[in-house]
């Protein structure tokens, strides 16, 4: 997957999209969608300022950092909760019977549907966005952790028992390493989802963050700002995924699905 984006073939579709965008906007100065060049200029101004000197000049980094902190904070909270709960649901029957039905029932509720309730519970502001991100990242991590710890090959328990591993050491010596690829997949999906949810979380009642910047752009009919926000979120999520994958390749060298 990472090898793919280095290949020239992968550039064809983005370049075609860019060309189509340019062709349909470049000679229409009153259109609602600005041409790529104008968005590029605005991106520079958002990042470094010095061109337009308006409310959006040089604010990109501040908003990016605000969003990233919420994404990684919410993601970390989700991981800290979902990993142990998932392991317990997967391995301990009584915990599974106690918790699994409730989670199955709550899981189909879209994160966006939680928005009004979360604003009541956590107030207007960043805490609500943080909650939504954590909630959005929680389920993929939970589901994949449960799957990971439940799908350990029975043969490996037999092998470990035969080699003198005690019952107590089965968890750290067999279940945990065998479940790592599943957990890792969950963490990767969860982080990706966190970047999706952050925009929704920041669209109401939050003054910083890329989601807030996009909403401000929308209200002021600054479509160039909106597109810059979209591009930034896309890039941030993409780079964040590459970092996670690189980490996975290091930690899961033994797994044919992950190892380099």
């Amino acid at each position: 997957m990472t090898a793919a984006w280095r290949q020239p073939l992968a550039l064809i579709v983005p370049l075609l999209l860019l060309a189509g965008w340019w062709a349909s906007t470049h000679n229409d100065p009153y259109g609602l969608i600005p041409p790529p060049g104008a968005v590029g200029t605005e991106m520079w101004d958002l990042a470094f300022g010095g061109i337009n000197d308006d409310a959006f000049s040089g604010v990109l980094l501040r908003n990016l950092v605000a969003s990233a902190l919420r994404v990684y904070g919410g993601f970390a909270l989700a991981a800290v909760l979902a990993l142990p709960i998932g392991m317990m649901i997967g391995r301990i029957r009584i915990v599974r019977e106690l918790l699994d039905p409730s989670f199955q029932l709550l899981r189909p509720v879209p994160v966006t549907a939680w928005l009004p309730l979360s604003m009541i519970l956590f107030g207007l502001g960043p805490r609500s966005a943080f909650f939504l991100v954590a909630l959005g990242a929680f389920y993929p991590i939970l589901v994949n952790t449960i799957f990971g710890v439940r799908s350990v090959e029975p043969r490996l328990f037999e092998a470990a028992a035969m080699l003198g591993a005690s019952r107590a050491s089965m968890f750290p010596k067999v279940v945990l390493p065998a479940a790592l690829p599943g957990m890792f997949t969950g963490l990767r999906l969860g982080l990706g989802f966190a970047w999706v949810v952050i925009v929704v979380g920041e669209m109401t009642g939050v003054s910083t963050g890329l989601g807030a910047m996009i909403m401000d752009g929308r209200q002021l009919s600054r479509t160039d700002v909106v597109i810059c926000g979209m591009v930034t979120i896309g890039l941030a999520g993409f780079l964040s995924d590459i970092a996670v994958q690189a980490l996975g390749r290091r930690l899961l060298r033994w797994s044919p699905q992950h190892g380099a």
Partner: protein
């Protein structure tokens, strides 16, 4: 040899072991009926028979992975209650830990026994050397061929000082050349270490090539039908007339001719 003859130096004693399974449709399957077997220390015993004859079930009961419905298994005089390091199993699908390197897989047993790090390391190095995989000591299982994986599985059992190796069609998934090489390596290890081996196979030639004693089993219900000592001198020549005679009589026995009780 009659199955109930007392063997004073038997390492493994299988006493009236039977096993019933309940099939998914609720009917009961008799996988093994009243098996008796005494296995002397240092011997190489092959269990042979068609699928469904209970040979793997019997092996898994000796390993402690299944509990018998009736009867019991004694290992060095003590009843078998579960898997244990005195009985090392070599599975057909290897059962290696995919997240551990060759060296770490071999070290798993000694480490679980609580030996000191330096000792564990030395034991692992010795057995990785013994199976000729020193160059692959830091490779992961998915990077190895089937033959290499099975060598690691054998080394893992030896590294724990298992006195009894239980091998469930260990070479069944390998190509013919690799199988032949591993058979010879196994015989070599067996001769050098004084290990006791119970080896399950459905290949007649493999059984006669390897074993001191071939225990033939038959399905429906699974039971022991013959117990044949193989007294051919080693190394054995698969093309010799004596080898072929044995192969023919064993084939006749397994393919449903009236049970021939061969006198030793």
């Amino acid at each position: 040899m009659a199955p109930d003859t007392p063997t004073p130096d038997a390492l493994v004693r299988i006493e009236a072991v039977s096993k019933h399974f309940v099939a998914p449709d609720g009917s009961e399957i008799e996988a093994l009926r009243a098996a008796d077997l005494a296995i002397a220390a240092g011997s190489f015993v092959c269990l042979i028979g068609a699928s469904g004859c209970g040979k793997s079930t019997l092996l898994r009961i000796v390993g402690g992975f299944e509990t018998p419905s009736t009867g019991r298994v004694l290992m060095a005089g003590k009843p078998v209650l579960g898997p244990g390091p005195d009985r090392g199993m070599v599975f057909q699908d290897y059962g290696l830990f995919p997240w551990l390197t060759v060296r770490q897989n071999v070290a798993f047993g000694p480490a679980a026994r609580g030996l000191k790090k330096a000792e564990v390391h030395a034991i692992a190095a010795r057995f990785v050397d013994m199976i000729g995989l020193a160059r692959f000591a830091d490779a992961y299982p998915h990077q190895l061929s089937g033959g290499m994986k099975q060598r690691v599985a054998i080394a893992r059992v030896l590294a724990y000082d298992a006195r009894l190796a239980l091998m469930d069609e260990p070479f069944g998934a390998l190509d013919a050349m690799t199988r032949e090489r591993l058979q010879n390596e196994l015989l070599d290890l067996w001769a050098r270490t004084g290990l006791t081996v119970i080896f399950v196979t459905h290949a007649i030639e493999e059984a006669i090539l390897l074993a001191d004693r071939v225990v033939a089993m038959s399905p429906g219900p699974g039971r022991i039908v013959a117990d044949i000592p193989i007294e051919l001198p080693r190394p054995r020549d698969v093309s010799s007339p004596a080898f072929n005679d044995l192969r023919r009589s064993l084939a006749g026995l397994l393919h449903g001719e009236p049970a021939i009780r061969m006198a030793a």
